[in-house]
């Protein structure tokens, strides 16, 4: 690491505005980056990692302001530089790759037009040369059809390809530094690998320095030379990657590392009539079948994890069970008896038995209702509770989800944290005293430590009430933690199902294998090995 210092940030302080008040969200961060070096910046949401990343470009988002410290890029003080000077640097010498390429490409222009914009505006190269250069970079990024892909609009290109195209665009002026802001977070696990590999290769090819921001340790481990851990705007620790993985010093870092330790103990095989049986269900939106002959059982006190990538039909299956999407053929049995296919045909009692918890607690809770009514309404509706009895029941439920009733009962969802909101979703489902709860990606929007709490809570409640869970997820780590049985879906079909132990032990179906092998591991060499083994296999 004896190379020149490219970026030096000292004592960086940034404030964010809420209403009329400013609060500090970055509290004195130091950061040094050498030429050609990749720094991993990790932390949970609210750690300030993106803010720091943008500050490295001398940029603060609307509603933020840099209040202290210095940012020296190649000797230029970005805090003192004029806007024009900063504009000359941005895109030309410092580039940025955003989390969602789909949102960060302008939908109105073709990819190659957007590629060429920065080089032409900054006077690095002519439009013609930029176009040739773009095609060359697309090829290097292993994009399919590199000659033609640039002439498509963003919506015509898949997410993984867009992310690579955006990396290529960031490279267009051959910058000295690229900020990667969670570039793979929005991608499916199998796509993530390809993008990660492409990013790593291109950065190495051009010897570009990078700041790689993510909340996923295993991902950053594949790309970064050093890792810096942030918590609430402050640095926790910084160390070379291998050292950080093997021997974290701080308790917080250790707790981050320990998240994946929770696992539900092995359960004996379930017997008797399943609570819910999905029997040969085929369902369609319009004329396009989205489910084909899907069958599986869910027993009381057991958790069935339904796994698959986006578009595999996981959530559609849930819609069939709840009656929102009546199947074309097949049936859903409840305790052995068929449920009316459509929601309208079901009795209140049948509705009560199947409850649902959603991925986005933000949209699943009516923001204008107090917790009292949010949680109380099912109890009032299904169980006929009123007045004091209802109030007591709501308080009990709040206790069950570990929120202090007196403090929370009259709050609005907007006044809660993400994890707390998800707990309210759980309480609302519990209030109906159902037999089956469908959990649709309930943890995927949460930070890892919070996820852990939710999973533990769900596990505890299952023990207490003998609930059956149908757990929809794309995250195999979560499956490992909570499932008794696993159903793997791909393109509307069940391709494999069985007890968890069997599913995680070879041999697998090829797709299951692909899914499993794509889960990043906490090993800086994992990606290299995986790519080598896949290359060997093909």
């Amino acid at each position: 690491m004896g190379r020149d210092v490219l970026l030096k940030i000292e004592g960086l302080r940034i404030e964010g505005r809420s209403g009329d008040t400013w609060t500090e969200i970055v509290k004195g961060i130091d950061l040094t980056l050498h030429k050609g070096e990749v720094l991993g910046l990790i932390g949970e949401s609210g750690a300030g990692k993106s803010t720091v990343g943008l500050a490295a470009m001398g940029f603060a988002r609307d509603g933020c302001r840099i209040t202290g410290g210095s940012i020296l890029f190649d000797g230029i003080d970005l805090r003192k530089a004029s806007e024009a000077k900063k504009r000359d640097l941005r895109g030309a010498r410092i580039a940025y790759v955003a989390q969602s390429a789909a949102a960060s490409f302008n939908p109105a222009h073709k990819l190659i037009d957007q590629y060429c914009e920065a080089p032409v505006v900054h006077g690095v190269m002519s439009r013609d040369k930029a176009e040739h250069d773009a095609i060359d970079l697309y090829r290097r990024m292993q994009l399919p059809d590199p000659d033609g892909i640039g002439f498509r609009y963003p919506h015509q290109v898949s997410g993984g390809q867009l992310q690579r195209a955006m990396t290529a665009m960031a490279m267009s002026c051959r910058p000295d530094l690229i900020i990667f802001d969670e570039p793979t977070t929005a991608l499916d696990v199998t796509t993530q690998i390809e993008v990660l590999a492409a990013i790593r290769d291109i950065v190495r090819q051009f010897d570009t320095a990078a700041i790689y921001i993510t909340h996923d340790l295993a991902v950053v481990a594949q790309a970064a030379d050093r890792i810096k851990v942030l918590l609430r705007g402050e640095e926790v620790e910084e160390a070379p990657t291998r050292q950080m993985l093997d021997a974290p010093r701080e308790a917080y870092t250790k707790s981050l590392w320990a998240v994946r330790s929770f696992a539900r103990p092995e359960q004996p095989p379930a017997a008797g009539t399943p609570v819910v049986s999905v029997k040969g269900v085929t369902a369609a939106y319009g004329t396009v079948n989205v489910l084909e002959d899907v069958s599986f059982d869910i027993h009381a006190g057991r958790t069935v994890a339904v796994v698959g990538e986006s578009g595999s039909g996981k959530s559609t299956t849930a819609r069939v069970i709840t009656g929102l999407l009546p199947p074309k053929s097949g049936a859903v049995l409840f305790e052995g008896k068929p449920l009316p296919p459509a929601l309208k045909g079901r009795t209140r009692e049948q509705l009560r038995q199947v409850q649902m918890i959603y991925q986005m607690a933000d949209t699943a809770l009516n923001p204008k209702l107090k917790l009292r009514e949010l949680i109380g309404r099912p109890a009032q509706m299904y169980l006929g509770l009123q007045g004091k009895a209802l109030d007591d029941r709501v308080r009990d439920l709040l206790n069950l989800i570990e929120l202090e009733p007196a403090k929370y009962i009259d709050r609005l969802p907007g006044e809660l944290s993400g994890g707390q909101k998800q707990r309210i979703g759980i309480a609302r489902a519990l209030a109906a005293e159902p037999q089956l709860i469908i959990c649709d990606e309930v943890t995927s929007a949460l930070d890892q430590i919070v996820q852990e709490g939710i999973l533990k809570l769900l596990n505890r409640l299952q023990g207490e009430f003998g609930l059956a869970y149908m757990f929809i997820t794309h995250d195999l780590a979560t499956v490992r933690a909570i499932a008794d049985e696993v159903v793997v879906m791909q393109r509307g079909r069940v391709i494999e199902q069985g007890p968890k132990a069997e599913m995680f032990a070879p041999p697998h179906e090829p797709y299951t294998d692909l899914l499993l092998s794509s889960v990043p591991e906490m090993d800086p060499d994992w990606l290299t090995r995986l790519l080598e083994s896949r290359a060997a296999a093909s």
Binding site: R17, T21, G63, L324, L343, L351, Y358, A364, N366, K368
Partner: protein
């Protein structure tokens, strides 16, 4: 010049008062309400203050007006004096008193009309969005058809059919405006009905009325309230346009639109008399728009500042 100066002074005074008011409200309130007040720009405070003043004037018109609304109390077009602060009108009625009663009549009628349009339009609009299917299609196409006929012309036609009493005026303008509200309410509700909490409530087995009332309406309030403000202004101006064409609020009821129109020939000679009622209309419209802007800004959560 004295007139222009007094207007500028008056507006400045209102702004100052609004500033003081906002400060006082911030001190007095706590919690969520206070954070709203903290967020409030000065223009919004000004708007709220103006609306409050209008409301008070409208409600307390008989107590505030020095003379009765219709009584001839002086000569024709008397100048401003101590007795008649704003002079008298074309048949010798007190201008100030008529302006004050005009607040009650014009604002009151516009308010009732807008409220009616909103109740009908938003309930139907939300219901259409919630129900979907052919009901939604039928209602939407019908409303599209009604909207294709220009509002002023349609009102004119209906008023000619049903005659020009205050009741028909209110009903006709409300009916015409309800179509616009329907469109907005439906669009807003369409954004809400796809939310998971609506699905959750449907899964729970809630009926349509509960969904509209408890789940959708509270979340559609912000844009609807903003639209209410704008609609209110449009209704206001529509009534004065109809008065201009002779179909609005009928004399001798004091109404700003008619008062502008009745004195319109004076504008030709640069006389400021018609400015007073027109100014009253404009001030309220601007005030409402300030509040609406603020509401929209809050609703969108856009960090503009």
């Amino acid at each position: 010049m004295g007139f222009a100066a007094s207007i500028i002074l008056g507006l400045a005074g209102l702004f100052a008062l609004a500033w003081v008011l906002r400060l006082a409200v911030r001190r007095a309130l706590t919690g969520h309400a206070r954070s709203i007040a903290n967020d409030m720009p000065l223009t919004a405070a000004f708007g709220i203050l103006v609306i409050l003043i209008y409301a008070i004037v409208a409600i307390a018109a008989p107590a505030l007006a020095p003379f009765p609304e219709r009584e001839i109390v002086g000569g024709q077009f008397q100048p401003w004096s101590a007795e008649h602060l704003l002079g008298t009108d074309r048949i010798g009625r007190d201008m100030l008193s008529r302006l004050i009663y005009g607040a009650r009549n014009t604002v009151g009628i516009a308010f009732v009309t807008t409220a009616l349009a909103f109740v009908v339009g938003s309930v139907l609009g939300i219901w259409a969005a919630l129900t979907g299917g052919w009901i939604d299609q039928a209602l939407s196409r019908f409303v599209d058809a009604l909207m294709a006929i220009p509002a002023l012309i349609f009102s004119l036609l209906l008023l000619t059919i049903f005659g020009t009493s205050v009741v028909t005026l209110v009903l006709v303008i409300a009916a015409v405006d309800a179509t616009r509200v329907f469109r907005l309410a439906r669009a807003v509700a369409q954004g809400i009905v796809v939310m998971d909490y609506i699905e959750a409530a449907k899964l729970r087995g809630e009926g349509s009325w509960f969904l509209i009332r408890r789940e959708i309406l509270p979340n559609a309030m912000a844009p609807l309230v903003a639209e209410f403000g704008l609609r209110f202004c449009f209704v206001f101006l529509a009534i004065s346009s109809l008065s201009f064409l002779g179909l609005g609020i009928q004399p001798p009821t004091a109404d700003w639109g008619s008062m502008v129109k009745d004195n319109a020939t004076l504008i030709t000679f640069g006389d400021i008399t018609p400015l007073l009622p027109a100014g009253c209309i404009a001030l309220l419209t601007v005030a409402v728009n300030f509040v609406v802007d603020w509401q929209l800004y809050r609703a969108s959560g856009l960090k503009e500042q």
